[in-house]
């Protein structure tokens, strides 16, 4: 395998992005990520993005956003209708082939003008589920109740996950929900919005974007004093139909973590893309984390969840801590689909 590293990142996330198009959002982020390692677009071997036409309300909407990259002279470029973490996976594969040494990955989502719960209903089975338009938080609530009634987690534990997220998020300028003093009691006192899930159990919806520069081998070491080396990355998928899987588990997350080598050594931190506290509890169990690992130092996706960018932001948050020297080994996770159907795990190391 070719050594590939994250060498620069740039993120922005706000509750509602007003008066700004996706292109205007991404211009400074892409410019910032490239400039951090002294690159221009002409130095980038491959560019890959993730975004959703369902948010933009237009087919091939990502083509507009190429204006933020600069597509003249012509560039080698691809796009996934998935979170940017999956675009990063494609770029990593491209770098493995060995014909290019650098890649730009970016993704963005601006869900505030529309209805995110309607968009998420459309990812469900088109015959059996989508015509019922079940709200995404209600679908997640069915999973949460199974988890609670199985005894694998308690309401207090889920509230504790919400509290930890909000406390950690207080130090994250891109978090859209944070608090230094919220308590488990405060969370348990909230009225459920999708019984048994309370508002603090659900990720805070946000608009935003993220850009990441990858480089291979010596090029990474030349560009960055302490690259965040991708030592393992894996993407696995469980069955689409909700009824055929045990919703209290996420076998694809456990398999992806195993294949990415998560268990090989101690993890200083993990950044989890968990749209609900119940899903975070499932991920912690599937990845096999113990108390020595800091979970979501940024607050995680619970503190701010931009559809299509929340997973890439997890990789950026983990990489920044390695590049900054505060962590040696980290795991970043991204999910897609209902109830943790798809899971990507990326293990990053500083040396």
């Amino acid at each position: 395998m070719r050594e590939v590293a994250v060498v620069a990142t740039a993120s922005r996330q706000v509750p509602v992005l007003t008066g700004t198009t996706e292109v205007q959002l991404m211009v400074p982020l892409i410019e910032s990520a490239r400039a951090a390692v002294g690159l221009t677009q002409e130095d980038i071997g491959f560019t890959c993005s993730g975004s959703s036409d369902f948010l933009a309300g237009q087919a091939f909407s990502f083509v507009h956003t190429l204006d933020a990259v600069g597509a003249v002279p012509p560039i080698s470029e691809s796009h996934v209708e998935m979170d940017g973490a999956f675009a990063l996976y494609e770029a990593w594969v491209k770098l493995q082939i060995g014909e290019v040494d650098t890649a730009l990955v970016y993704s963005y989502g601006k869900s505030s003008p529309g209805s995110l719960r309607d968009v998420l209903a459309l990812q469900l089975d088109p015959y059996y589920l989508a015509p019922l338009w079940p709200p995404a938080d209600a679908v997640a609530a069915l999973q949460a109740r199974l988890l609670l009634e199985s005894g694998a987690a308690s309401p207090e534990e889920l509230a504790g996950i919400a509290v930890r997220s909000q406390h950690h998020a207080a130090a994250n300028p891109n978090a859209v929900r944070s608090s230094t003093d919220v308590t488990v009691g405060d969370v348990l006192a909230e009225a459920p919005v999708a019984d048994p899930l309370r508002p603090s159990d659900l990720a805070a919806e946000a608009d935003g974007g993220c850009a990441v520069v990858l480089a291979a081998g010596d090029r990474a070491s030349d560009l960055c004093e302490r690259p965040a080396w991708i030592r393992g990355i894996d993407h696995r998928i469980d069955a689409h139909a909700l009824g055929v899987r045990d919703l209290t588990r996420a076998p694809s997350a456990a398999l992806a973590a195993s294949r990415a080598g998560a268990g090989g050594d101690r993890l200083d931190l993990v950044e989890l893309h968990s749209p609900t506290t119940s899903q975070e509890a499932i991920l912690v169990r599937e990845i096999g984390l113990d108390d020595t690992t800091v979970v979501n130092p940024s607050g995680g996706a619970l503190a701010g969840c931009t559809l299509m960018a929340a997973g890439l932001m997890r990789i950026a948050e983990a990489a920044d801590r390695i590049t900054g020297g505060t962590a040696d080994r980290a795991l970043a996770h991204a999910t897609s689909g209902p109830c943790l159907q798809q899971n990507l795990v990326c293990v990053l190391e500083g040396a």
Binding site: R117, P134, L142, L146, A194
Partner: protein, 148 residues
């Protein structure tokens, strides 16, 4: 105004017809006739709603089995504000219901007035829509089943 997101109405549509095939099609046709169908899996268990393939292996499946019309709530939640496009115009339960004769649960609405009337393990039975056209909304929902 400066703080309001820009708005422009746009109708997203998918102006194509799809054929639903021998399994999903049979299930939907069954709904129109007031019959609930599952499919037998390789291990002998019954999957509802049916898929054409075994989820674990991709192996083809074809033996349709009648299930229901009553079943048990496996998990539930409450929907306070149904989406305007949904079949429901008032608050309702949403549940995973394992129909009698089935081994996997299906998702649908439970027509009760309050979440206090819902519980895991409760018995429910199907309520058919008056007008049926071979669509998942041919099931109006489930209601609590009185012990017989």
């Amino acid at each position: 105004m400066a703080d309001a997101p820009l708005r422009a109405d746009l109708i997203l549509e998918y102006p194509f017809s799809r054929t639903t095939g021998p399994v999903i099609g049979a299930f939907l046709t069954g709904l129109r006739e007031g019959v609930l169908l599952g499919i037998r899996r390789a291990d002998g268990t019954v999957m509802v709603p049916p898929a054409e393939y075994e989820p674990d292996t991709g192996e083809s499946l074809s033996e349709l089995v009648e299930v229901g019309p009553a079943g048990e709530v496996v998990s539930w939640t409450w929907v306070d504000s149904p989406r305007p496009q949904s079949p429901w115009d008032r608050p309702h339960g949403l549940a995973l219901v394992r129909l009698d004769g089935a081994d996997t649960p299906m998702l649908h609405g439970v027509l009760v007035d309050s979440p206090d009337e819902l519980a895991t393990g409760m018995r429910v039975e199907v309520v058919w829509s008056d007008e049926r056209e071979g669509h998942i909304a041919d099931i109006a929902g489930f209601v609590p089943k009185e012990p017989s």
